[in-house]
Amino acid sequence: MKKFMTVGALAMLMGGTAMAETIGVSVARFDDNGLTIMRNGMTEHVETLDGVELIMEDAQDDVARQLDQINNFIASGVDAIIVNAVDTNATEAMSQAAASAGVPMVYVNRQPINMDTLPEGQAFVASNEIESGTLKAFEICKNLRAAGKSGGATAYMLMGQLSNQAAVQRSKDVEDVLGMDMCNFITLIDSQTANWSRDQAQDLMTNWLASGEPFDAVFANNDEMAIGAIQAMKSAGISMDEVQVGGVDATPDALVAMQAGDMDVTVFQDLAGQGAGSIDTAIKLANGDDVDKTVFIPFKLVTPDNVSEFIQ
């Protein structure tokens, strides 16, 4: 943190007429892997900007602590606040605190509960969940067409926990894509839940294989289930060249499976991009520019062609 303050101070000295801006950031947890990628995205982006200073705080998964941090930011006169909410149900109070002090606020990655009633000068930066399932399903549809299966193809779908919004959304996205004129040659034989788990996906896929119905593709709500399905198909002696398998998340395990030629499609949530996007949005709000209430950072499609870019 010290480093950024120094950078900020230096920039202030050297920037001359450029106005220095201070942004307070409260992140739900510093030790969360995904959020760390987002946090690093913020700091790296700030280093490329002139005269922007970040004050980064760890809310340690504590709602009360996070609200205190926001009030502290307001008291120390920051130009904008970025919040990665600990609990998205507790954002109302944060929005009010910032709005009544007239400090612009940006929610990042986790959608605030008061999204519909966000006060003036507040916005939400994240990826649009609808894209993840859609990108994956459409890519598999294209691949099946390219393989000359547009006369009719069949597929299975592995769903995440049925009580989980992302699972329901990603499944619906696949169904929507399969409803499009271009892709309606694909019929879903069956959709079942494997609760995000590789193990359950393995067993479920083996059960499907037991029925002996031919199929061309497997859609999975996440990479873990896609890998489980791949393991089941491989131990049943199915050639992975014959089947299109798609997941979501671009986990290291999935990227390795893709390198090995087993997995065909996955989708990467650009967390570093969300971090950088939240900084840009905060600066725009601080400058009084017009900003959309929701700023979407696109998901990235990962295929064997570009998989090497995603492997660290």
């Binding site: 030790d31 969360d32 892997n33 769903m159 049925l162 069956d190 959709s191 079942q192 839940t193 609760n195 995000w196 788990s197 590789r198 193990d199 393995q202 067993d203 479920l204 083996t206 059960n207 499907w208 294989l209 037991a210 029925s211 002996g212 873990e224 890998i227 489980g228 393991q231 131990s235 049943a236 986990t251 290291p252 395990d253 990227l255 390795v256 390198q259 090995a260 492997i311 660290q312």
Partner: protein, 360 residues
């Protein structure tokens, strides 16, 4: 037993009044459920007359759909291994809720000692420890896992036997502790990419062979060793067992240790089968293991039940799970149907028990 006058204390023992072995009833229930799915395949219009167990697509040499037979057992083999331990705990009059989270914790720890250095020619992206922990001989993760299981079991058993905490509470506490260990070990990150030799433990049908081998072993131990007789004795009447000279406390510790070591072994097989360990592994396993034992006729009041029953209970689970996928039952209704079948099976067993008691 052919002689009708056999019995203890001069009591006559009438073989005609002897009830069927309980296991036979579970076996019939299993057949009944299979028949129900087979009928559903014929009756449901969208099934196109497919068969559940038989090879209607001419894919195998035998008349059976061998792939179906394999998955029915494969998908319950790992929880089945846990159920073997849970069976012993319940027969001794206890309960073990910690086995599911123990699977998660053990998998995480064991996999950290089973990682390989190179993945697709690149460095392992999931390495937990430094280079010293790469490509260790497979015996090391095995020993680490079983020792961890033994430790957790010893703590469970000691708490229950010596401080007299109810087993439900002691193992509920351990449930939370183990899930915590699983999550804290790598702060929620999965551990993947094991060595080739480690990957062999759960490859293909290995989980089934291991399950059956352990089932035979513990069937023998429970029926024909002092350990087994003491386990039944303590579960039937703890005070009587103590007065007849059994060291009840020491024996309980042993039972919980064996149960936790079986759960730890299940974790090893599971992580090997999946080539990964995740902190969320084993969720609901403790409940499914208990349900398998109970469906198999193990009495929660202790003293009654058998390994054969539990194995059949596990197969009932396998048939139901496979059957649901076979008839393409809507995913949103499967849990309800599963719950209803579990309750139904136990109610049937209870009715039968009471009838048998009335007859004699």
């Amino acid at each position: 037993m052919a002689d009708a006058t056999q019995g203890t204390g001069g009591l006559t023992f009438d073989t005609k009044k002897r009830a069927w072995p309980n296991e036979l009833n579970i076996f019939f229930a299993l057949i009944l459920i299979i028949f129900a799915f087979e009928a559903a395949g014929q009756l449901l219009p969208y099934m196109n007359g497919q068969s559940f167990l038989f090879d209607t697509r001419d894919r195998f040499d035998t008349i059976f759909n061998e792939a179906r037979l394999r998955i029915i057992i494969l998908q319950v083999a790992i929880i089945g291994i846990i159920a073997l331990g849970v069976t012993q705990v319940i027969i001794s009059g206890g309960i073990d809720l910690s086995s599911g989270p123990l699977v998660g914790a053990t998998a995480m720890i064991v996999m950290s000692f089973a990682q390989t250095e190179l993945v697709n020619g690149g460095p392992n992206p999931k390495a937990v420890f430094g280079p010293w922990a790469f490509d260790l001989p497979v015996i090391i993760p095995l020993l680490v896992g079983l020792s961890f299981g033994a430790l957790i079991g010893a703590i469970n058993g000691t708490l229950i036997a010596y401080t007299k905490i109810p087993p439900f509470i002691a193992t509920l506490g351990m449930f939370l502790i183990c899930r915590g260990i699983a999550q804290a070990w790598t702060r929620g990150q999965p551990v993947s990419f094991p060595t080739e030799s480690y990957a062999l433990i759960g490859k293909g049908m290995m989980p089934v062979y291991l399950f059956f081998a352990l089932a035979i072993l513990f069937h023998f131990i429970l029926k024909h060793t002092v350990y087994g007789k003491h386990t039944y004795a303590i579960g039937s009447n703890e005070d009587a067992a103590r007065m007849s000279g059994i060291n009840v406390q020491r024996h309980k510790v042993l039972v919980y240790m064996i149960a936790s070591m079986l759960a730890a072994f299940a974790a090893i097989v599971l992580s090997s089968k999946n080539l990964t360990a995740q902190s969320g592994m084993g969720i609901f396993y403790e409940l499914y293991a208990i349900a398998m034992a109970v469906i198999g006729g193990v009495s929660l009041t202790g003293g009654r039940g058998s390994i054969i029953g539990t194995v059949l209970g596990a197969m009932v689970f396998g048939v139901i799970q496979s059957g649901f996928t076979y008839i393409k039952l809507d995913a949103f209704y499967q849990l309800m149907a599963m719950g209803a079948i579990i309750i139904g099976a136990v109610v049937l067993d209870k009715v039968r028990q009471e009838r048998a008691a009335l007859r004699s």
